[in-house]
Amino acid sequence: MVRVISRRLIQLVATVLALMTLVFFWLRSLPGGPVDALLGERATPQTRELLTRALGYDQPIWVQYGRFLKNVVTGNFGNSIRTGEPVTAVIGRAFPATVELAVAAIIIAIGLGIPLGYLAARHRGRLLDNATIIVTLIGISIPIFFLGYLLKDWLTQGIHVFPPSGRISTGLDNTDVTGLFVLDGLLTREFDASADALWHLVLPAFTLATIPLAIIIRITRASVLDVLDEDYIRTADAKGLRNATIRKRHVLRNALLPVVTTIGLQTGALLAGAVLTEKVYNWGGLGTLITDSISGGRDYPVLQALILLAAVVFIVVNLVVDLSYAIIDPRVRVQ
C-alpha cells in the first residue's frame, strides 16, 4: 500500500512539473497580455513600458521561465496581477466555495443516483425504468448553463423560491471560519447564516449535479443488471437466502465497483462543470476565478496555480478511488 502511494506521489510531481511548463509557455503565447489588460484605454506608451519592465516581461522568456521554476519549487506562487493579493489567498478564498458546491452536488448525485439506478434495474423494462432512462438522457444532454438559466428564470424571478445568485444574502455579515458557509454557520451558531447559505446552495448544486447524477444512475442500473445475471446470485437465491441479504451483500456490493470509478472521474469533471455553474450563479469559486483570470487580464500567477491545483485534485481523487477499491473489493487487496 505504501509503495503504491509513494509511486503515485512521484508520478504526481512529474506530471505537475510537465504540466506547469506547458502552461507557462502556452499562457505566454496567447495574444494580449496582462500589461494591456491592466492598463486599459488610458495608458501612455511610457506607462506601458514601465509596467512591462516592472513585471519583468521585457526579459527573455527563458529568464522568466527560470524565475518561475525557482518560485514554484520554493512554493512562492506570487501575487495576483489583477488584485495584488498573494495567489494563495485568492485561491484559498475561492477553493472552499467550490468545495461546498461540489460536495453538495456529489451528495445529490450519489444520494439520488445509486438508489434510483438500483430501483430502475430492479424494475427493468417497466415504467419506472423507462422513465429513468429518458430523464437521465435529458440530464446528460442538457447544457449546464442552459439548465442554470432555466431554473433561475422559473424559481427566482416570478416566484421567489430561491435567490438568483451568490452564496449568501447580501449584508448578512456571516462569520467566515472555514469558508464553507453552511458549516461555518453551524460552527459559530449563526444558524440563520447556515440556513441562508444552504438556501443559496440548492439551485447551483442541483444544476451542477445533473450530469453526474444522470451518469451515476445509468452506470448503477447497468452494473446492477449485470450482477443480477450472475450465477452466484442465482445460487444465493437457490440456497434460500433472504432477498434483503442478497441485495445488500451480493448485488449492491459487487455492483458498486464501476460506480465508484465513475464517481471518481465525475469528481474531476465537476471542476469543469463548476466553471459554468459558478458563472450562472455568481458563485465566486474556482470556476469564477479561472474565467476572471483569463478574460479579465491574463492573470498568469493565478492561472498557473489554479492549473496546478486542478491537476493535484484530479490525481488525488483518482488515488483515493483506487484505494477505495481495496476496501470495497477484497480481491483487489489480495492482488
Binding site: 495574444p31 494580449g32 494591456d36 489588460a37 486599459g40 484605454e41 488610458r42 495608458a43 511610457q46 506607462t47 514601465l50 509596467l51 519592465r53 516592472a54 519583468g56 516581461y57 522568466q64 524565475r67 518561475f68 518560485n71 512562492n76 506562487f77 506570487g78 495576483s80 488584485t83 495584488g84 498573494p86 478564498r93 466555495a97 433561475k152 427566482t156 424571478q157 421567489h160 435567490p163 438568483p164 445568485s165 451568490g166 449568501i168 444574502s169 447580501t170 449584508g171 455579515d173 456571516n174 462569520t175 467566515d176 453551524l186 460552527l187 459559530t188 451558531r189 449563526e190 458563472k279 450562472v280 450563479y281 455568481n282 465566486g284 476572471d292 478574460s295 479579465g296 487580464g297 500567477p301
Partner: protein
C-alpha cells in the same frame, strides 16, 4: 454485519463530537452590541466588477472609483448630474495669468475619517506624495497621474513644481508649464485627497513586488481614509461585498442611508435577476435590450447624460486609398448612423457629429454633417478611383463597453452599410483582451475598426486631444502634423474663450479637412433602481455620489 453497523455508529459519534467541539472553539465575529435601529436602512448597489483597491492614485477604472468616490473628495468636483465644475474640498480656485499657478481656497472644518484636519498642508502632502512616488511598481499603476502630470521626480516631462501652504486654508500649486486639462482634471477621482497621517501609518507608498506582480499596502486594502460621505466598512472578498458606513461628520450633505453595500455581480443578466428578486436596489449598465422591460415593470431607468463617443476609426497606413479624403468621406456618407442609433443604440443615444459631447467646451454647432447618402458615397469613391475597395474591419469580441454594448451587432450594421456603397468588408473579430487592442493600437493591422471613449473630465483635450493630438498607430498616419499642431495649440491656450474658439475650429476641421475617423454615436449608460430608491442623480461621468440616496417604504 453487526461490526459494520457498530463502526458506523462510532463514526457518526466522532463526527458529532467533533462538530460540537469545534463549535465551542469557533466564535462568531458578528457585532452583538445593541444595534441602533436604522433610520436610513441599507442601500445595496450591484456593481459590475471587482475594484482593484481603494487608494485613488493607483486606480483608473470605474469599478474601483465607485467606492472611492464615496470615501474621498476631490479639490474640485462636478455639479450633480452635470460635467460642470464646482467646489469640492476647495471652495474656490484660481489660475494666474501664466496658467502655471493654481491657488485653492479650502473649505474650513473638514476632517478626514481618522479625525485629522484637512488643511493646505494635507493637500500639498498629497501632491508631494504623487510626485515623489518611488519604484516602477508603484509608478506604473499611476495611470492618470502619468497622463496628466507627465512624470515623477527627476523626469524632464514632470509638470509638477511645488505645492505650498500659504496659510492653513490656502494651498498654492505651481506647475512647470500651463496644461489645458486643468482645472477639469483636478476633479479626477484618481486625484482624491487622502489623510497624510493614514497614508503614513498604513504605509501607502509601499507597493511591493512578488514574482511578476505587486501587492498593495494596508492603506489601499483595509484602511482607506478620506473625507467622503461614507467611511470604509470592509471588503468581503468571499461574498463580493464592499461595505460603506455613513459618515456622521461629513462636511457636505450627510448620507441619508446608514449603510451602503456594493455587491459585485459580474454577469449582466444576473444583476437584472437580483434586481427583480429584490435582493439589490440598483444595478449598473443594464443590457440595452432589457431597458424597456425593466421600465415597464416599474423600475426606474435613469439615463446618464452622454459623455462618451463611439467612432469608426480609419487607419490610413495599410491601404493607400484611405489617404484620400474623398474615400474617407465616402465611408462617412455610406453609414446610416441614424438608423443604427434607432436599432442598436441604448436608450437616450444620439448620432455623433463630433468626437466630443455638446456639454464640453469647444463643441462647434456648425460642423459639416455627413447625412446618409449612398449615391454620394459611390460618386466620391468613383472620383477617387477607389471602386471595388476592400477593407479589413477589426471589431472586438468578449467585451461590452458603455459606449459599445454589443460590438458584434454594431459591426454587422456598419459593414452592411459599407457593402451597400460598394466597399467590400472583410470582418476580423478579435477578443478585446486577446488581440484586439494589440492589433489595433500597437500593430495597426486594420483598415477600419470600432472603438470609443468615456470622458474623464470636462475638457476638449480629453476627447479630441486623446485621439488625434499626436501620431497614433490606431489611425496610421504619423504625418498628420497640421492636425497635431492645431490641437496642441488649442490645448495650450490659457484664455478660456480663445481656447473655446480654437477647439471649435479644430472640430470643424476634423469634419471637413482631416476626417481621421467617423464619429458614430453618444450612448449614455443607464443605472436602474427599484421604485423605493429616491435621490440618485445619474452623472455623465458615471461619478455618482450616493449620499443623496434614500430608501422609501
Amino acid at each position: 454485519m453487526q461490526a459494520i453497523r457498530r463502526r458506523a455508529v462510532i463514526a457518526a459519534g466522532v463526527v458529532a463530537a467533533l462538530s460540537i467541539g469545534v463549535a465551542g472553539c469557533a466564535k462568531s465575529d458578528r457585532d452583538s452590541g445593541t444595534e441602533v435601529k436604522s433610520t436610513g436602512g441599507t442601500f445595496i448597489f450591484a456593481g459590475a466588477g471587482d475594484p482593484k483597491n481603494f487608494d485613488p492614485i493607483f486606480n483608473d477604472d470605474g469599478e474601483s472609483f465607485r467606492p472611492i468616490r464615496q470615501l474621498y473628495d476631490t479639490l474640485v468636483t462636478h455639479k450633480p448630474g452635470t460635467a460642470d465644475l464646482t467646489g469640492g474640498l476647495a471652495e474656490s480656485w484660481e489660475n494666474d495669468p501664466t496658467g502655471k499657478v493654481w491657488t485653492f481656497k479650502l473649505r474650513q472644518g473638514v476632517k478626514f475619517h481618522d479625525g485629522t484636519a484637512l488643511d493646505a498642508t494635507a493637500v500639498c502632502a498629497n501632491f508631494d506624495r504623487w510626485y515623489n512616488m518611488k519604484g516602477e511598481a508603484a509608478q506604473s499603476q499611476m495611470i492618470y497621474y502619468t497622463d496628466i502630470f507627465g512624470g515623477f521626480a527627476g523626469s524632464p516631462d514632470a509638470l509638477y513644481d511645488n505645492c505650498k501652504a500659504s496659510d492653513a486654508a490656502t494651498a498654492v500649486l505651481t506647475l512647470k508649464k500651463y496644461k489645458g486639462a486643468f482645472p477639469g482634471a483636478f476633479a479626477l477621482t484618481a486625484f482624491s485627497i487622502a489623510s497624510p497621517a493614514a497614508l503614513k501609518q498604513y504605509d501607502a507608498d509601499t507597493v511591493t513586488q512578488n514574482g511578476d506582480s505587486f501587492a498593495y499596502s494596508s492603506f489601499a486594502n483595509e484602511h482607506p481614509t478620506g473625507t467622503g460621505a461614507f467611511t470604509f466598512g470592509g471588503w468581503n472578498k468571499a461574498t463580493g461585498e464592499i461595505t460603506l458606513n455613513r459618515n456622521p461628520d461629513y462636511w457636505g450633505d450627510k448620507a441619508k442611508v446608514d449603510k451602503m453595500i456594493i455587491k459585485v455581480i459580474k454577469d449582466e443578466n444576473t444583476r437584472k435577476q437580483e434586481l427583480r428578486a429584490g435582493t439589490v436596489q440598483a444595478i449598473d449598465f443594464p443590457a440595452p435590450a432589457d431597458r424597456k422591460a425593466l421600465a415597464s415593470e416599474g423600475y426606474k431607468v435613469l439615463d446618464r447624460p452622454a459623455f462618451n463617443i463611439l467612432y469608426l476609426g480609419i487607419n490610413q497606413k495599410n491601404n493607400p486609398k484611405l489617404k484620400d479624403l474623398r474615400v474617407r468621406q465616402a465611408i462617412a456618407y455610406a453609414l446610416n448612423r441614424a438608423q443604427l442609433v434607432q436599432t442598436k443604440g441604448p436608450g437616450g443615444s444620439a448620432v455623433a457629429d463630433e468626437f466630443l459631447p455638446n456639454t464640453v467646451l469647444g463643441y462647434a454647432t456648425d460642423v459639416q454633417k455627413y447625412a446618409y447618402d449612398v449615391a454620394k458615397a459611390k460618386q466620391l469613391l468613383a472620383d477617387a478611383g477607389a471602386t471595388g475597395l476592400t477593407l479589413n474591419f477589426y471589431y472586438p469580441t468578449e467585451v461590452s463597453r458603455p459606449y459599445m454594448p454589443n460590438p458584434q451587432e454594431i459591426f454587422t450594421v456598419l459593414a452592411n452599410d459599407l457593402q451597400a456603397a460598394g466597399i467590400k468588408v472583410n470582418g476580423v473579430p478579435r477578443p478585446w483582451n486577446g488581440g484586439f487592442k494589440d492589433d489595433v493600437q500597437q500593430f495597426g493591422k486594420q483598415d477600419l475598426h470600432i472603438l470609443g471613449w468615456t470622458g474623464d473630465y470636462n475638457d476638449p483635450g480629453n476627447f479630441v486631444g486623446t485621439f488625434f493630438g499626436r501620431g497614433k498607430v490606431e489611425f496610421g498616419d504619423q504625418a498628420m502634423t497640421e492636425m497635431f499642431d492645431a490641437i496642441g495649440k488649442a490645448d495650450a491656450t490659457v484664455d478660456q474663450s480663445a481656447k473655446k474658439a480654437a477647439f471649435e475650429q479644430v472640430n470643424r476641421d476634423l469634419a471637413t479637412k482631416w476626417l481621421p475617423a467617423v464619429p458614430i454615436w453618444h450612448a449614455p449608460p443607464a443605472v436602474v433602481t427599484t421604485k423605493n430608491v429616491a435621490g440618485l442623480v445619474p452623472s455623465p461621468l458615471t461619478a455618482e455620489q450616493f449620499n443623496t440616496v434614500s430608501l422609501t417604504k
